[in-house]
């Protein structure tokens, strides 16, 4: 059965987030991230944090669906400790950076306050 392993709600969107999205990157942080990180980050509050995304999981941002192709070695501790996620829509099947979570090379949605991030495990 598919299971929601992580879900959160967006509480703030930095003014540089659209610029980063254009480069295929969405940077996420929890609410306690220092102010200098808010400028280019999506700030979110988790409701479910069972685990971080793994290869083969599905990530949803509202109704936009992405398939997780690769996950860097520190992505899990980043997300669970700091609410930090570097979501990269570049189609890579090996992570380029240890913090990366890679999905298909598709355009990323415009994220707004109240939007939801959901990670769903696939059977």
């Amino acid at each position: 059965m598919p299971e929601i392993v992580y879900s959160s709600t967006v509480t703030a969107v930095g003014e540089l987030v659209p610029d980063f999205a254009e480069q295929g990157v969405l940077v996420w942080f929890g609410e306690n991230a220092p102010a200098e990180l808010h400028e280019f980050s999506i700030i979110h509050v988790p409701e479910v944090a069972t685990r971080a995304p793994q290869k083969g999981d599905m990530i949803k941002i509202n109704e936009n669906v992405f398939n997780v192709l690769a996950v860097g070695s520190v992505a899990s501790e980043n997300l669970l400790n700091l609410g930090h996620l570097d979501l990269k829509a570049n189609g890579l099947t090996e992570p380029e950076m240890p913090g990366d979570v890679n999905v298909e090379a598709v355009s990323l949605p415009t994220v707004q306050v109240g939007d939801r991030l959901v990670v769903i495990s696939q059977p």
């Binding site: 610029d19 480069q23 220092p34 990180l37 700091l82 570097d86 380029e96 950076m97 990366d100």
Partner: protein
Amino acid sequence: MGAYKSVVISAGKGGWGGPLTITPTDDRPYIYSVTGGGIHPVAARIAEITGGIPFDGFKSSVPFDKIAVAVIDCGGTARVGVYPMKKVLTVDIHATSPAGPLAMFITKELFVSGVKAVDIKES
């Protein structure tokens, strides 16, 4: 006050940049740990040798111009560039190289990565 010592921090295995010489001053006394799980051991070690003040960026904040060095555990996208962009000396625990949307700000003069306690030497 004023009894600060200097350390030289070199890139660790697989790391990039540096070496950086860190000398806290009364104007810039803070060793700023922007890491998961509290003050990172590398930040604690720098503070111990130099006499700088260790500080957890996920708990509270100080102005950039008070920071002697920022210690990050960045997986390569966001935090690697933010502090160099603000001209703050930056030590990444992870062995990252300049990349991401802020890569242009990451220089050998401002940034060193892959750093472990053994890469910190009293000077």
